[in-house]
């Protein structure tokens, strides 16, 4: 078992850059940030660093909020495109994303971990060399350019992909650890999972599926939900293993995709940001067709086309 991202290519880095900054552009487009200025002050409870750095002046001004939103949209698009402007724009855009996230989490005063991994990813990409220069279709590796100086994109791609992958994996793993040591077996046995599912399916959210409420009164369906919740917790706990083991990664990615889709339908809880990051960071389905085949040998011809974790020199 060696690190999956050891042979990451500039192409993979370009896909990650487009995904991360693209996600923030979509979030900025879909979030009416400027409406924070209209909301009563008692609804705003800053979190994290914003308890020390006041956001009041910004949150009270429609003009500044519009400016912030536009900065994330324009900066995010430019960063997703990459090129020379990336070096100049990535830092300010990551800063704008951080402030926008501060405003969003201040409304209601809760941090949602759906956006945390992609927030950290934006910062990791902003600080890593060669990210802007990476472009789609560039499959250069350090090995193929060994006689020359390897490009910064080729040298930096493995770290960028691996660090974002580690952040995503830890987000799942730490949560599962806390659930196991805090809730123990009881939450799977006493009907808690059924209560949680029904409540979330009926409560107002950005989607309005009511499928979760159908389990009420059915011992079979309540049992299935509890078992599914337990299996999900185990997969979440083992997330870091997906960075190393190719066969487990195939199973893990498949399960997590199904899990996240099922939480949308059953509980109106959408982790679309994580879904995108899982596909981009833990699979190579977005590589050009010809470049997936050699990596497939390690795992067989699975439908996800997940590449081998090997390829790097044994250290």
């Amino acid at each position: 078992m060696s690190w999956f991202h050891v042979d990451a290519r500039p192409h993979d880095l370009a896909v990650l850059r487009i995904a991360v900054f693209g996600i923030w552009v979509v979030i900025a487009l879909g979030t009416p940030l400027q409406t924070a200025a209209d909301l009563p002050a008692w609804l705003f409870t800053p979190r994290g660093p914003w308890t020390v750095i006041p956001l009041d002046g910004l949150v009270g001004s429609v003009g500044w909020l519009w400016a912030l939103r536009l900065a994330v949209i324009v900066g995010g698009i430019a960063c997703a495109i990459g090129g020379r402007s990336y070096t100049v724009l990535a830092g300010p855009t990551a800063l704008a994303v951080l402030v926008m996230h501060g405003v969003m989490t201040g409304v209601g005063g809760f941090v949602n971990h759906a956006q945390i991994a992609v927030l950290y990813a934006a910062w990791l990409l902003a600080l890593q060399r060669g990210v802007g220069a990476a472009h789609l279709g560039d499959m250069a590796t350090e090995a193929t350019t060994a006689r020359q100086q390897p490009s910064r994109s080729a040298a930096g791609a493995p770290f960028a992909l691996a660090s974002v992958g580690l952040v995503v994996a830890l987000a799942y793993s730490l949560l599962a650890l806390r659930r196991i040591t805090r809730g123990g077996a009881e939450i799977y046995l006493d009907g808690s999972t059924g209560i949680m599912t029904i409540a979330r399916s009926l409560e107002y959210a950005q989607t309005s599926f009511r499928v979760g409420s159908l389990i009420e009164g059915s011992t079979l369906l309540l049992g299935l939900v509890a078992v599914g919740f337990l299996v999900s917790t185990i997969f979440e706990l083992l997330a870091p293993l997906a960075l190393l083991n190719s066969r487990f990664r195939v199973v893990w990615v498949g399960y997590m995709v199904v899990f996240h889709l099922s939480t949308i339908v059953m509980m109106n809880i959408a982790f679309l940001e994580n879904l995108v990051l899982i596909v981009v960071v833990f699979t190579r389905v977005l590589r050009p067709r010809g470049d997936r085949s050699s990596a497939m040998a390690d795992v067989g011809s699975g439908p996800l086309s997940i590449a081998s974790s090997g390829g790097g020199p044994s250290s």
Binding site: W3, R129, A155, R182, E216, S315
Partner: protein, 255 residues
């Protein structure tokens, strides 16, 4: 970074010793299973009146340290680190170490470092949630789609402070009632939250508290009305919804 990569390369074989890995992995698995069973009322491991179980800090620390050691020792990491920008590497280390330390800092709570939700980490006999129901006359028109008017990806979070204020208002706190009406005015004035057609427009917002209990029995969900708040009519002379929103906001005296 090259020097660090060389150090990792040298340390790798020591961290990859099979016997150490199996012993540590087995120890962690044992701790985890023990905790998993002992923390449940149904599976208490008791000696006399005492529940015997390892400290939670030891369980989480053993697993985290083991996992990080395992990841650091795997082949490929030196090459990955060699290509890292020192700034990005520092941030990555801060994130990983910071979240691990925060996990320990939150040990006595239901929380974990990357969210302020409780994340279904405790047995739950009942969940209570708030429903904002639009009403016209006696007719229910569905939940108030207030997410269109607030800059958050977690509209559920916004319901908590609203519920606090509604509960104070229901107990006769006049200032809480004013605050609640202020919020309703701002949100309902926002374009797209209420129907443009006056004939379809709700006149009241009903705030319900709903409790979900034993799901194995029918009727697990029971709701009761906490408060009813009048929805203000559209601002006079406001021909377009955007102007109505502006009028509603200034009327409410927000910020």
């Amino acid at each position: 970074m090259q020097r660090l990569a060389a150090g990792l390369k040298a340390a790798g074989p020591h961290l990859r010793r099979r016997r150490v890995g199996w012993l540590w992995g087995g120890f962690c698995a044992l701790l985890l299973v023990w905790w998993f069973l002992a923390s449940s009322h149904g599976f208490l491991i008791e000696v006399g009146d005492a529940v015997i179980r390892p400290p939670r800090l030891a369980v989480e620390a053993a697993i985290l340290i083991g996992a990080l050691g395992f990841l650091i020792g795997r082949p490929g990491l030196p090459r990955i680190v060699a290509g890292a920008d020192p700034r990005a590497f520092t941030l990555a280390v801060l994130l990983v170490v910071g979240t691990a330390l925060t996990q320990f800092g939150l040990l006595g709570t239901q929380h974990y470092p990357l969210a302020t939700w409780t994340m279904y980490t405790s047995p739950t006999a009942q969940i209570t949630y708030t429903d904002l129901v639009m009403v016209r006359g006696d007719e229910e028109l569905g939940q108030l789609p207030f997410a269109r008017a607030v800059p958050t990806r977690s509209p559920r979070a916004l319901l908590w402070p609203v519920t606090d204020v509604a509960e104070q208002a229901a107990q006769g706190d006049r200032s809480a009632e004013v605050r609640l009406e202020e919020w309703v005015a701002v949100v309902t004035a926002h374009p797209g939250v209420l129907p443009d057609d006056a004939a379809q427009r709700p006149d009241t917002l009903r705030i319900d508290r709903c409790a979900v209990r034993d799901p194995s029995q029918p009727g697990a969900v029971a709701c009761s009305t906490l408060l009813e708040v009048p929805i203000p009519p559209p601002a006079p002379g406001a021909a377009d919804p955007a102007a109505a929103a502006d009028a509603g906001a200034s009327e409410a005296g927000a910020r």
